[in-house]
């Protein structure tokens, strides 16, 4: 009996993989996403592989600060003040990817706990927690992030906290709606009848079942979070002037946009390509977990 369920799980996984890999755009998205991840890991652990000595800051060249067009020496050209764009983008990807990951996962964890509590316990707690999330939805997210980040001081830590504060209510609402349907299912009933405690039911039985859709949501949100993170940096929310960050990198070239458009095009492409790839990958994953969309 046990063997058969194992086999069932196995064939289910195969089917899921088949569905995912038959979607060519989703696979392309995943490949690009993995390339970004690999770059981030190289920058973290051995930046010399890509010829970078210090991935934590831009390398300036004040001798020749004016942007240079792409050439064999600088494949993507340079931006003000004499920054090698290719190298800077490779460095910045680590920062953008790492912090965005932290924000989405942090927001998802907090949101999941709140959402499951609200839906499972219900009643006044549900009403209270949902009114609480309403407050966060009542301020445009970019404005809220600016205000929180401002109050905490300009640093990456405060940017991360600010964006987690912006993002967790979305996950709270999402897991709440998921939990509301899961808690009516037979296996929860069975766990209750077997005398499982409330905490055990919530985190051992309900939480794992909310995971697949939440993971898909995470991959879809990653694209938006990277965008918002870069946007904050672009409008000047940056800890110090030589932090490698894609939005900030684009803002450096803004004064040269007429004579040297590559200074804003390449950092912009880097971030759009990333957001596109995670969105495509997320769409593919959503098709996998939602059988209605498999057609």
């Amino acid at each position: 009996m046990e063997e058969r369920t194992e086999e069932g799980k196995y064939s289910n996984l195969i089917l899921s993989l088949k569905v995912f890999f038959s979607n060519r755009t989703a696979v392309a998205g995943m490949v690009i996403f993995l390339a970004y991840v690999v770059d981030a890991f190289i920058m973290q652990f051995d930046p010399r592989l890509l010829g970078v000595t210090n991935p934590n800051q831009f390398t300036y060249n004040f001798v020749n600060p004016v942007p240079q067009p792409p050439s064999s020496q600088y494949p993507l050209g340079t931006t003000y003040p004499g920054i090698n764009l290719l190298q800077a983008i490779l460095e910045a990807i680590r920062v953008d990817l790492g912090y965005s990951m932290l924000i989405v996962v942090g927001g998802a964890v907090i949101g999941a706990v709140v959402g499951i509590l609200a839906a499972y316990v219900g009643g006044y707690l549900d009403e209270l927690l949902m009114r609480f999330t309403d407050i966060f939805f009542s301020i445009p997210y970019l404005v809220l992030a600016i205000a929180v980040g401002f109050a905490l001081g300009r640093s990456f830590t405060s940017m991360v906290i600010a964006l987690i504060i912006v993002w967790w209510p979305i996950y709270a609402r999402y897991t709440r709606s998921l939990t509301l349907s899961i808690k009516e299912s037979v296996f929860v009933e069975a766990a209750k009848a077997a005398g499982a405690s409330m905490v055990r039911i919530m985190f051992k039985h309900i939480l794992p079942n909310t995971l697949p859709p939440v993971v898909v949501q995470i991959s879809l949100d990653l694209g938006s979070v990277v965008g918002v993170f870069a946007t904050l940096a672009f409008i000047g929310f940056i800890p110090n002037a030589n932090t490698p960050e894609l939005g900030y990198l684009a803002s450096l070239g803004l004064n040269y946009v007429q004579s040297a458009p590559w200074t804003v095009i390449f950092p912009g492409l880097a971030i759009t390509l990333f957001a596109l790839s995670v969105n495509l990958m997320g769409d593919g994953l959503r098709d996998v977990i939602d059988p209605r969309r498999r057609s």
Binding site: R131, L144, I146, A151, I235, G247, A250, L254, V257
Partner: protein, 354 residues
């Protein structure tokens, strides 16, 4: 005839507003006080004061803002000030003075910008979504899908830069900085220190004064910011509308309409589009939130003097008064818009009331 049930819903919806507004003000207040009194003192004390004079000033401010009281008491003092319309002072390069004056200067511009963006969304986004669904899987549909998916993946500042490069630099047909060309308004009696009178919206003021050349110039300056805003919000709308339109087109009543010989154009525009718009209307709250958030970025990229530009200037100049006031303002605008939309929606669609 409006039923009792509807009134109950309206009342309930307005009552829910009260805790949200209290929470909103509490949140803003906590943000001000998260670093103790430092931010407040830094905003109001002249940095050139030292020694005795500085101490005296700190004492005066402690009195004025009740900084020696417990935090929850301070909240009620602060709330009292906010409710009587005293939002404090702002000090940025584009304006320094009372926050309430700053709002009357900048808010009208932002409202006009958002309305233009909304108009563009309605004129471009909705037809594109419908067209895409009606011509499913045609090359045009594929193109629209790639277009909206790419837009959806672009941060709003990049959409702005792309438009600047395309329309401002290469085609060189539209201006992309400020609200008007400076030489157009030099020496005008109703335009002083970058502020136009009486409405503070240059386009409207110019029309009021019969100065149509300036009005045209101001209009040209409005196109790129509002188009950026519209494109950013449109990306999501096209996707939602296409999906819901495809679903509606499968319905029996659409088939019936076709069978009985209703022209295709009428079926699409009258029978299908109206029903497909429902999810779009439902997501209108998010649209408004997107517009309001986008305004901050768009106005600062295009140097457009609205609330969003003021907010970024406040951020860059450590202006706590400006940040807090704009957060509160954005929050109240969003809360009230969502309320109005919900109420309109409840009147239009009886199923929404529960």
């Amino acid at each position: 005839m409006i039923s009792i049930k509807l009134w109950v819903y309206v009342l309930r919806r307005i009552l829910i507003l009260i805790p949200t507004l209290i929470g909103l003000t509490l949140l803003v207040f906590v943000l001000v006080h998260i670093q103790g009194n430092n931010l407040i003192l830094a905003e109001y004390i002249n940095p050139r004061l030292t020694g005795q004079a500085r101490e005296l000033e700190i004492q005066r401010l402690t009195q004025e803002f009740h900084l020696d009281q417990p935090v929850y008491v301070q909240y009620f003092y602060w709330l009292g000030q906010v409710l009587t319309g005293n939002l404090g002072y702002t000090n940025t390069p584009i304006y320094s003075g009372p926050v309430t004056t700053a709002i009357t200067l900048f808010l009208p511009n932002t409202v006009v910008l958002s309305l233009f963006a909304a108009l563009l969304i309605w004129l471009i986004g909705i037809p594109l979504g419908v067209f895409s669904a009606v011509n499913r899987d045609s090359p045009a549909d594929q193109g629209i899908r790639v277009f909206s998916f790419t837009l959806y993946s672009m941060p709003i500042y990049l959409i702005a830069i792309a438009l600047i490069l395309l329309l401002g630099v290469y085609l060189n047909v539209l201006p992309f900085s400020g609200e008007v060309s400076p030489q157009m308004v030099a020496g005008l009696s109703w335009f002083r220190d970058g502020i136009s009178y009486p409405t503070h919206v240059l386009l409207i003021d110019a029309i009021l004064h019969g100065d149509y050349a300036v009005a045209w110039n101001a209009f040209l300056h409005l196109i790129m910011p509002s188009l950026t805003l519209a494109l950013a919000v449109m990306a999501g709308i096209i996707r939602i509308l296409r999906a819901s339109m495809l679903e509606v087109l499968e319905q029996d009543y659409i088939r019936l309409a076709r069978v009985k010989g209703v022209p295709e154009r009428v079926v699409n525009n009258l029978h299908a589009r109206r029903n497909a718009m429902l999810p779009v209307v439902t997501s209108f709250g998010y649209t408004v939130a997107g517009l309001l958030g986008g305004v901050v970025v768009v106005e600062s990229v295009f140097d457009f003097p609205g609330i969003g530009y003021w907010t970024t200037q406040a951020l860059l100049n450590n202006d706590i008064g400006g940040i807090m006031a704009s957060t509160l303002l954005f929050g109240i605008v969003l809360v009230l818009t969502t309320l109005i939309l919900d109420l309109v929606y409840a009147v239009v669609d009886p199923r929404i009331r529960y």
